[in-house]
Amino acid sequence: MEPTNEKKFIPKGAMAFFVLLVLLTLAFFFGIYLLMIDRV
């Protein structure tokens, strides 16, 4: 169970990291995607 004697921990930093991870994924995907279309 969550500890009640400390302030509730909300992982804001981890969520920010996750969003950056998603952006990196989008960057790689669409980078190769655009390269693919360029080579058609």
Binding site: F9, M36, R39
Partner: protein
């Protein structure tokens, strides 16, 4: 926890033997970057031919090291959490089968009779001992699963209402995935390839062999990865000074791996003939399914580290990243885990590119591919193996870690080298540089008509990365064996750091039972693979005879 001498002996051998072989494995990693950059412009060096060395590199690093470690780490995890040891006879039988397999395959490779690479695609033929050796390694690794299942069932009887420990769940799920996927490659090897290579059958359906191999081959990478995930969920948070953010998230991720690890293999065959675009697209979508548990893991581990950082006084959105035990010798495992995770960010993201159907045409079989997979198998997997091996060996044998400063720093050096290597390979791959090719003799030989000047910078960058990694790898191996051969200080015990969970959710039955998930796994497998196998059957023509690596003329003529 006290463990028997026999248990310790087997685990020590299973950890140390592959790490000793790794000297050869890493040597030929370096050598490849040297050949590929055109520094060497020849077919062999020091009596090892390029493709022979490439085979050794793949088999030792990606099959032997990983399988032995998974078994050893499984023994350690199951024993520690369930407080009972595996059956001694079965542990020895498993070990002996695996070692015998390695000896057979090693002989074939070193004798130059199995330069077929670790994927051994027919109709390039290897000596039967290579295939038999691989089969023995695999069959030996099946045995522990059944014994662990027995241990788990007896533990459950004694603890009917306790959640299965996450590490135990992970180990069992990992080996279930392994057992199911290796059935295909065992069939390929024992039924299709061994009789053919012995001359008992004349031809083999190459497409069928490839499809069976990749039924195994993608799940193989999860077999490598899940032990590292177990470390991230159950050991890392404790080492970092925090807690696992959500225990349930780990369970959900593991069961998703059980469903999605295997029915995605055709994404390695996007450019193959005989399999339809529809089946390929289906496997592509299922592969997006298997990406989900990795995204869950990325967040959950980040949240766990954020919790640790905040416990250490960090403020702000990203301050927690700084308040972690990056260079703490007493918590050296942290550096192995964090460097693995950083590499895996890039490894995972490039993996998503590779599995994205038509995007695959840009990268398949180019140097981009090894650029990707070194950031996964030679990232979190290798670093997890290295860190845990020295940790377990030292602890259980009552020895002190030798060269502790170096042991702590090595992952950072490795990571630095890897990022450089993979950057060079990825860039080269986008310029059309092929993988699995001895570039030095032709494409990277300025006097040759095939010379490609645009691959010079990319192969040089990969060479630089390779040299750095070689140094890091050798430093680790020296530190490991210095520890192994150092003087015993105390009677060793088996001890693994165990992370508490912040959200330690009540036991949820559906995420603590196997049956429904096993049924789902089989159902998805049938949907994914029956069409693929039907495709192969419908669209394949004549089967292929045996070819040796140096002769376009096959061994026996195909009967028309």
């Amino acid at each position: 926890m006290q463990v028997t001498k026999s248990f310790k002996k087997i685990v020590f051998l299973e950890l140390a033997i592959p790490l000793a072989l790794l000297v050869i494995g890493i040597y030929h990693g370096l050598m490849q970057t040297i050949y590929r950059a055109g520094v060497l412009q020849q077919t062999s060096f020091a009596k090892l031919d390029y493709y022979q060395g490439l085979t050794l590199h793949g088999v030792i690093n990606a099959l032997v090291l990983t399988t032995f470690f998974a078994v050893a780490f499984g023994h350690v995890t199951m024993t520690f959490y369930l407080k009972r040891e595996p059956n001694k006879k079965l542990m020895w039988t498993s070990f002996i089968l695996m070692v015998t397999g390695v000896v057979l395959a090693a002989w074939a490779m070193l004798a130059g009779k199995a330069s077929v690479l670790y994927t051994f695609y027919p109709p390039l033929k290897a000596h039967p001992c290579f295939y038999l050796g691989a089969a023995l390694l695999i069959v030996g690794s099946w045995i522990p699963l059944f014994d662990w299942a027995r241990m788990y069932n007896s533990w459950k009887k004694e603890n009917p209402r306790t959640k299965t420990p996450l590490a135990v769940l992970g180990t069992l799920i990992n080996f279930i995935i392994w057992f199911v996927c290796t059935l295909a490659v065992a069939y390929e090897v024992l039924v299709l390839l061994v009789p053919w290579s012995l001359g008992w059958t004349d031809t083999v359906n190459v497409n069928l062999a490839r499809t069976l191999f990749w039924f195994f081959g993608h799940a193989l990478v999860y077999f490598w990865l899940l032990p590292a995930y177990i470390m991230f969920y159950t050991i890392l948070p404790k080492i970092a000074g925090g807690k696992l953010y959500s225990d349930l998230a780990g369970r959900v991720a593991l069961f998703l791996f059980l469903i999605f690890s295997i029915p995605v293999g055709v994404h390695h065959q996007y450019s193959d003939p005989t399999i339809t675009q529809g089946v390929k697209f289906l496997h592509g979508m299922l592969t997006y399914g298997v990406a989900i548990p990795s995204f869950i893991t990325a967040f959950t581990i980040a949240a766990s580290l954020e919790y640790a950082g905040r416990q250490n006084g960090a403020k702000g959105l990203f301050g927690w990243m700084g308040k972690l035990p990056w260079f703490d010798q007493n918590r050296f495992l942290f550096s192995y885990f964090i460097c693995g995770l950083i590499l895996f960010v890039f490894g995972g993201v490039t993996g998503i590119v590779n599995s994205s159907y038509s995007l695959n045409s840009v990268v398949h079989n180019t140097a981009w591919l090894p650029g990707h997979f070194h950031m996964t198998v030679a990232g979190p997997v290798f670093l997890g193996i290295a860190g845990m091996s020295i940790y377990i060996f030292a602890g259980m044998s009552g020895r002190k870690i030798k060269m502790p400063k170096i042991v702590t720093i090595v992952p950072y050096l490795w990571m630095f080298g890897m990022l450089i290597f993979s950057f060079g390979m990825s860039w080269g791959g986008l310029r059309g540089e092929p993988r699995r090719t001895n570039l030095g003799t032709t494409y990277l030989n300025p006097d040759h008509e095939l010379f490609r000047s645009d691959w010079v910078p990319t192969t040089l960058i990969a060479l630089l990365g390779g040299i750095i990694m070689f140094i890091a790898g050798m430093l680790f191996i020296i530190a490991f064996f210095s520890t192994v051969f150092s003087k015993k200080q105390t009677e060793g015990v088996l001890e693994i750091p165990v992370s508490e969970a912040y959200h330690d959710e009540k036991r949820v039955a559906i995420f603590d039972r196997f049956k429904p998930w096993l049924i789902a796994m089989v159902a998805v497998l049938l949907v994914a693979y029956i069409p693929a196998l039907l495709n192969v059957n419908e669209n394949s023509g004549p089967k292929a005879p045996r070819f040796n690596i140096d002769n376009p003329v096959p061994e026996v003529s195909v009967k028309k």
